[in-house]
């Protein structure tokens, strides 16, 4: 990285099933204004705006960046729209960070959102295609068979998924912005919830949320704000084809390559030891043990054992998704950025009740499509 880049402001909406008090413009503005206030800046201090969201077909709103430019103070400034399916919130933050680290801009505002109550994501993800049978039933229908394959390959007991579902919802009780606040969540409640995509139950899946996330990224000589900056220590993206013979759908090569790259940049050789916490895109409970292995937090086949041991719980040695994660709030386009934003909050010491004590180095990860897009960053309280 040529120039150091830091997160100096964060903002997010209260994620809810339906935010009918605001339009999409109102939603993104809410998060952006909060990020600007946190950075102690105003709209005129921003050099460029980078916005991301999941497929336009979700809300049926083609090229929303056109209509959102004035709402985000982007008139007369460079504006970029990013799209990489579910990982878009992460890759949007990375495009913004590249604009700073390359020395092109001093202060960049980055925003991501989804207004799922305006949309029908299940329908948009299940559009019949001429070269495939019309069987796909949303993201859950796509991922459930791979989860079954993981259970078979690793020999994991079936309650592991339920443990993740409970753990992340308990964490969400500490996060005032989380969509789901299920005070009574326990293993039984998850087990009693409806089987949607066998082996996945309702409470093992993420909710549909309206929400937005925003960050202000700055060069070293433009740092400002109410909290110490979160320095970017590494950033990487990878992609791979959806289908090729020999593709490992449980442990995708692109995810392994992406983490190897970002760890090399950040000098991380033992992720479980060196990271104080992580925010990882887990939209379906079983993706925690799967990504624990993919991200090298343990040996292959041992992800579920780490989850079972409590290591990833809020009081464990490597808390995953202390915010409640995607399982507790899923404004799809923003979900990846929330992972990146939450780890910045952790190393800045501004996570409130879900603050991991003394967090200094943390990993944010997002994935999207059919596990074919990955974006990651490592942020720390110390300068890289």
């Amino acid at each position: 990285m040529a120039e150091r880049c830091a997160v100096i402001g964060v903002g997010q909406t209260h994620h809810k099933a339906k935010r009918d008090d605001v339009s999409i413009a109102g939603l993104v503005r809410e998060a952006a204004k909060m990020a600007l206030a946190d950075a102690d800046l105003t709209w005129s201090d921003i050099d460029a705006v980078v916005i991301g969201k999941a497929p336009d077909m979700f809300e049926g709103n083609m090229m929303p960046e056109i209509y959102l430019a004035p709402a985000l103070g982007a008139v007369g400034k460079p504006m970029f729209r990013v799209h990489t399916a579910g990982s878009v919130g992460g890759s949007t933050a990375l495009v913004a960070a590249h604009l700073v680290s390359s020395g092109i801009h001093k202060r960049v505002l980055t925003v991501a959102y989804e207004k799922q109550s305006d949309s029908d994501a299940m329908w948009a993800l299940s559009v019949p295609q001429p070269f495939a049978a019309p069987l796909l039933a949303g993201a859950g229908g796509y991922f459930a068979p791979h989860i079954r394959a993981y259970m078979r390959r690793s020999g994991a007991p079936d309650y592991i998924g339920r443990m993740v579902a409970v753990k992340d919802r308990k964490n969400a009780m500490r996060n005032p912005y989380a969509h789901l606040h299920l005070a009574d969540i326990d293993m039984k409640m998850v087990e009693d919830s409806m089987m949607l995509w066998d082996p996945l139950r309702y409470l093992e899946a993420c909710p549909s949320s309206d929400g937005a996330a925003a960050m202000v990224l700055a060069a070293e000589d433009a740092v400002s704000g109410n909290y110490p900056p979160a320095w970017v220590h590494g950033m990487a993206m990878r992609s791979e084809p959806t289908m090729f013979a020999g593709r490992d759908q449980i442990n995708p090569q692109a995810g392994r390559d992406c983490s190897a790259d970002v760890y090399r940049q950040a000098g991380v050789t033992n992720p479980r030891e060196q990271f104080d916490c992580a925010e990882v895109y887990v939209p379906f409970s079983w993706y925690e043990p799967m990504w624990l292995e993919n991200l090298g937090f343990c040996d292959l086949g041992d992800g579920w054992k780490l989850t079972e041991s409590g290591a990833t719980a809020f009081d464990g040695d490597i808390p995953w998704n202390a915010s409640g994660g995607v399982l507790s709030s899923n404004p799809i386009g923003a979900s990846g950025m929330l992972r990146f934003l939450e780890v910045a909050m952790q190393v800045r010491g501004q996570a409130g009740e879900h603050q991991v004590d003394g967090a200094k180095l943390a990993l944010g990860q997002a994935y999207g499509g059919g596990s074919q897009f990955f974006s990651m960053w490592v942020v720390g309280s110390a300068k890289p």
Partner: protein
């Protein structure tokens, strides 16, 4: 004078249905696949570098980046590598729930595809189950996946996990 539009409050939601009809140009490789379906057969293509057989073929090998030119006629039977049981309704759904959405690896192919599995209760499906395609009547065959009604168990013993584990 009272402002009637203000008194009624904001309009919070407005449903605006969208309809999309599109034309699809299958290209050379997929045309072979679709013409095969019209004859009640599965046709794939083999990569000349890695030897893997793709069905349906997109005309090139994603791993080696070369055109796939060797046509391969595949069998009517295959193995369920993994599956899920769909029990969630959504707009535009064309199959009655619950239904089994299976990843099926046709004999001779190196890539599984998604298929509907029927003629078996949803709680009896297994990974490794051997299945066969059930086609529509000959007079109803078209160059489309609608020619395959569904897959069903073909009565053979389950495939050993080791024979399909690399396709998960």
């Amino acid at each position: 004078m009272a402002d009637e539009t203000t008194d009624q409050g904001p309009v919070t939601t407005l449903a605006t249905p969208i309809r999309l009809d599109f034309d699809f140009t299958p290209g050379v490789a997929q045309s072979k696949f679709l013409r095969g379906l019209e004859r009640g057969e599965f046709h794939g293509q083999r990569c000349s570098v890695c030897g893997k057989v793709y069905v349906p073929s997109r005309g090139s090998c994603p791993t080696d980046g070369v055109p796939t030119t060797e046509d391969v006629l595949l069998g009517n039977a295959g193995t369920v590598t993994t599956y899920c049981v769909v029990n969630v309704p959504f707009a535009g759904q064309s199959i009655e729930i619950p239904y089994i959405c299976a990843q099926i690896l046709l004999d001779g192919a190196n890539l599984s595809f998604m298929g509907l599995l029927q003629e078996i209760p949803t709680d009896q499906i297994r990974m490794g189950m051997r299945v066969e395609a059930v086609w529509v009547d000959e007079s109803d065959l078209t160059p489309s996946l609608a020619s395959v009604r569904y897959f069903r168990p073909n009565g053979e013993p389950d495939a050993d996990y080791d024979t399909y584990k690399e396709y998960l």
